[in-house]
Symmetry: C2
Subunit: 340 residues, 2 copies
DNA sequence: TATTATTTTGCATACGCTTGCAAATACTTT
DNA sequence: AAAGTATTTGCAAGCGTATGCAAAATAATA
């Protein structure tokens, strides 16, 4: 029952070579003769030896670990992204150390400190902000930081987002073309760049057409608050005939209130548009018109960018916006004809 | 721009003490006088020093990393579990290294090998099986393995599940009490213990009441396949008046087919029961009767068990089943009165 | 075959930290 | 104040690996 650790030294002994030889066999770039390689591999499998990644990291200074900070796993966009990120990195020989930035945990700064302790090669912040103090700390250590689905007015790190401004504009155009007259908006958390950009594009485009928001509430990207917002908005005097909700997740809650609590018809009486295009949106029970955030492309950019930063320390941070299509479904009227 | 690494040695120099003193200040169990502690802390903050977890692990043999293998992140039960697991472990000073066992990656065995390379202190397999060969490898290294939401006929590792047999029984009783006569089942992946147990309990209880399955299809825990199954099942000659679906996730797909493709009423014409109680189930658009898997309690047990195994190597593996309540909602008839 | 160019190999060191041990210091006790 | 006890401290070794350097082995060339 004694757990004996197998080290490269033991393999070396068994194979009749030096420890360095073993190391070289298991180090991608290193050179070893066919003969020794064979001997070493044989001994290694016999002893069930595998190199200790931690010890290796200590020398190379590379851990092949990427820290991922994530919140809002309840919004399905993030599990999806997490899966894509983890898979892509796995293929490149990296692995993901997950850190939850949820309510329960301390501040993001503490979390990032813990991440740095693990000597991660890079950090991905999914929908999470970071203090500029911390940013410089990461910078000082040469650890690249990438924002995923969030941007920040700080050119020290790269950010990958969908084109939220453009997305907002598209929604506005759609609703205007559909002949809606009383267009409302339910906002996400106002500290989020995604929220700000979506609203900015939306409102701007309305303005271009001589319109403005008929109503506005804040849902903070939380379903409960979105429900409250919807109740307030749709029990007012003149209710909206269309509402753009800052995320699909909130949209579902809003639709439920509209249909099941207030008995209104979607889209005959109210059109609803969301943002994200999570899988549930396409389910017939919701059939939600929405702007797709192309998770796979966003992740692909994120990965290639972070790897680039790791390989080449002097890569300059970039901000990338990825255009996502408007997905037309049944939750919005498209003709101006109103059902009476 | 040169990235200078701060080591305990530099802190020691600045503080005017030995390197070991610095180490002791940052090692929980170690002793240091008030005076040195003060000096060291001051120097440390000045230099922005934090201990290198990897180097520490090399010595202590403890990485404070838990490997988590997870598939099916598209079933919302798992993101939820992941969040709980990560949070709980974070509080205990551990962190989660995530490995996806999805379609794209190789076999689980390869994945677990990669995990072991990181010298993890333990492994949690969420809804994933493991070969017995690999099991012994983990055992040999003294790395505890815990199955989450899956059990296996191998007493070498612990398994935490909900009481799926009992859950299946509860569903059967409910449907029988509701006066259903043609009771059907849509199965998950038949390799999964969860699937087998749910069905076993369900069928057994029907049998106790002199009934048997009116129809049965397999959905493999995949929505698309569940849809196919539902189409087949509900276009047959005599359609079921109740269907138990092995997971909520599949249930939604089934309900969509029943209502939107076939135009049947739930629960008037067909009662539907799911399993898991993911958040969507409570949304009014589905309002699904289901058996709750108490994720928080399951996670709590998982964590306490894995930590126990880590602290005390000779802890015997245990299989734990956690009872989960039947959550009555609107997708099932409760009276025997049939709507005509 | 002798000579040079090339590859392979082992030695020794370093990565940043913890920890047993013995020396040094601080605190008690009579 | 001296002896004894408890606590703190520095030294040095080692965790498992990668890698520069020089020596040894091999291949290539004349």
């Amino acid at each position: 029952m004694v757990t004996k650790k197998i080290t490269s030294l033991e393999v070396a002994k068994l194979a009749g070579v030096s420890q360095s030889a073993v190391s070289r066999v298991f180090t991608p770039g290193a050179s070893a003769s066919k003969k020794t390689e064979e001997k070493v591999r044989k001994a290694a499998t016999e002893l069930d030896y595998r190199p200790n990644v931690l010890a290796r990291s200590l020398i190379t200074g590379r851990s092949r670990i990427i820290g991922l900070v994530v919140a809002h796993l309840d919004n399905y966009f993030y599990p999806e992204a997490l899966e894509l990120i983890s898979n892509s990195l796995q293929k490149k020989g990296y692995h993901v150390l997950v850190f939850m930035a949820s309510k329960t945990a301390g501040s993001i700064d503490d979390v990032v400190d813990e991440i740095l302790d693990y000597q991660v090669d890079g950090i991905i912040l999914a929908s999470v902000a970071i203090s500029s103090n911390l940013a410089s700390r990461c910078n000082a250590r040469g650890v690249p930081v990438i924002l995923f689905n969030r941007s920040q007015d700080d050119d020290r790190f790269s950010a990958i987002t969908s084109d939220n401004i453009l997305g907002g504009q598209k929604v506005a155009r759609l609703l205007i073309a559909g002949g809606h007259k009383r267009i409302a908006y339910i906002a996400g958390w106002e500290g989020a760049s995604t929220q700000r950009d979506r609203e900015a594009g939306f409102v701007e485009e309305l303005k271009q057409h001589g319109m403005s928001l008929h109503a506005r509430e804040v849902g903070n990207f939380i379903q409960d608050e979105a429900r409250q917002a919807a109740r307030k908005m749709f029990t007012a005097n003149e209710i909206p005939d269309a509402v753009f909700v800052a995320s699909d997740d909130m949209s579902f809650a809003v639709m439920d209130v509209i249909r099941f609590e207030l008995g209104l018809k979607i889209p005959e009486q109210v059109s609803v548009v969301g943002y994200d295009d999570v899988p549930v949106s396409s389910w017939p029970a919701y059939d939600l018109t929405t702007v797709r955030q192309p998770a796979n492309r966003m992740v692909a950019e994120t990965i290639s960018m972070i790897l680039e930063c790791i390989e080449n320390k002097k890569t300059k941070p970039r901000q990338i916006k990825i255009d996502g299509p408007l997905i037309m479904r049944g939750s919005t009227r498209i003709s101006t004809k109103l059902s009476k």
